[in-house]
Symmetry: C2
């Protein structure tokens, strides 16, 4: 399989779906609508909607009901980046080589753009109810997906991880293992988990399957983050497009800083192998998802 | 009717309901959980959940399914205040005589607290699905309420109004009538509208009734805002707890600044009379809602 070509084909499909759900840039709030679209178009890899769609299809899903959730997930991911980049947070003026949203539209509009994206994610997700006449899907399956979407994005998921991360920066290397794992699980892992779980839920997967999917996604999220920290040590600056060694310089507590490079590589390997093993246990064609997970983890940038 | 006593009784009931849905202050994101509860406890009048509950009961609703929506509405209202007070927005250190959330917890936590409240509003609203076994309510009524909740809070509602308001401040008195009305309709009116509309929807009100409720709520929202601007001219500083005349000094375009005091008082009167007239047309006991609407509009602070 040419995984890059397969990913690229799917990214195009996802971008078409996203485009359909983005707001028209018209009327009085035009500035924020432009800022929303700017931030979504700023070049994300669409990892989360791709995981959602692939998991949905793995368990036999073939309806459009997943589309609003894919768009909602990318909006939530994007709002979190827009707010993370704000001056009071990470104060980043560039992301993926482009000016950040507040750098272009100002700080007030950066705040409102993030708020608008988060809220619009839920507006968009509720459109799933218009995609089906199936009573079970309407009354139980979409509500369950909405519940996972919101819980994993909030204080018991991504926002919880962000809060702990903001506080951890003050603690430097005195951060304990438990809290570091909490941050990775939630700041990075929560949306990966909910993406795959929502795919499975919408396809009608059983509770048992859903738990396996949560484990796979958690492993991938954690491995993804540790690999990020590994690249900060051994990455190629030209490929990464940013200087390496910043975590150590900033005394940022990462898995690599706390456990060393070899143990970190070992951890990424065992987490990924376990995820792929569970995945292989499902009926159906898991070949793309397997390669995609490996590609996500063992990336060079 | 002793309207103040009746409001006070209902406020206590609503605070009990809210309390049930607020997060426990434990675990790693403790700081943001404290900030969320601090901002909710900072003394709101609970106007929106009260309007929702009263409208729900007017149309025969008597179940708990409205409770998660009441809590969600107050969380959305509160997040909008927390973000409005941020340094990059209105930069307010005090609200209702108490330090604002970012003044207590810092700017980063102020941003995250608003995000957390907005997201938690949707987490909370989805709990409505657990409150009923009625297939019609599950499959159609709660989804419709979720749709209104999210649309009126976002770019086609409150956030749209906030964006236009931020931009209007730069325009000063050159602001046109259309845009001023858009701001009032959305920044102030949208959540009043969705509060009453969600109450009506959950009680199974017809489309025709829902349109009447939207008109009532829009009139009340606009009258409420114009009265706010009137009080900025003729209010009693001791009662208001803030200096008057700030809108004129800041060249803030308000209905009063654009149309004068007499025309503004006339407008408040006609909007309120129309709202009460429509309300009287419904079967059922509208006496509290009538007096409550008048109380909201003709307040002295």
């Amino acid at each position: 399989m040419n995984i890059k070509a397969e990913i690229s084909k799917r990214t195009e499909e996802i971008n078409d779906i996203l485009e359909h759900y983005l707001p028209k840039e018209e009327g009085y709030p035009k500035t924020v609508l432009e800022a929303m679209n700017y931030s979504i178009h700023a070049g994300g890899k669409r990892i989360r909607p791709m995981l959602m769609k692939e998991t949905y299809e793995l368990f036999g899903g073939s309806e459009d009901v997943v589309h609003p959730f894919m768009a909602a997930m990318e909006m939530i991911h994007t709002y979190s980046l827009v707010h993370d980049d704000l001056p009071a947070m990470d104060n980043d003026m560039l992301r993926r080589g482009k000016p950040t949203t507040h750098a272009v539209y100002g700080e007030a509009m950066g705040i409102l753009c993030g708020d608008a994206l988060l809220n619009y994610a839920y507006e968009t997700a509720t459109l799933a109810f218009d995609k089906t006449d199936d009573a079970e899907v309407l009354a139980h399956i979409i509500p369950k997906a909405l519940r996972i979407l919101s819980v994993k994005a909030g204080i018991y998921g991504m926002v919880g991880g962000q809060v702990a991360d903001v506080e951890a920066e003050k603690m430097g290397l005195s951060l304990d293992e438990d809290k570091l794992r909490y941050i990775i699980d939630n700041k990075t892992g929560a949306l990966i988990e909910s993406s795959m779980m929502i795919g499975a839920i919408l396809a009608g997967a059983s509770c048992d399957t859903l738990q396996k999917i949560e484990t796979i996604a958690n492993n991938v999220g954690v491995a993804f983050q540790i690999q990020d920290d590994i690249l900060d040590v051994i990455g190629d600056e030209a490929v990464l497009g940013k200087p390496i060694g910043s975590d150590e310089r900033n005394e940022k507590p990462t898995y690599v800083v706390l456990h060393g490079l070899e143990a970190s590589k070992e951890k990424v390997k065992s987490l990924t192998e376990e995820a792929v093993d569970i995945l292989k246990g499902f009926e159906g064609d898991t070949s793309f998802l397997e390669e995609f997970l490996m590609y996500l983890v063992y990336r060079e940038k």
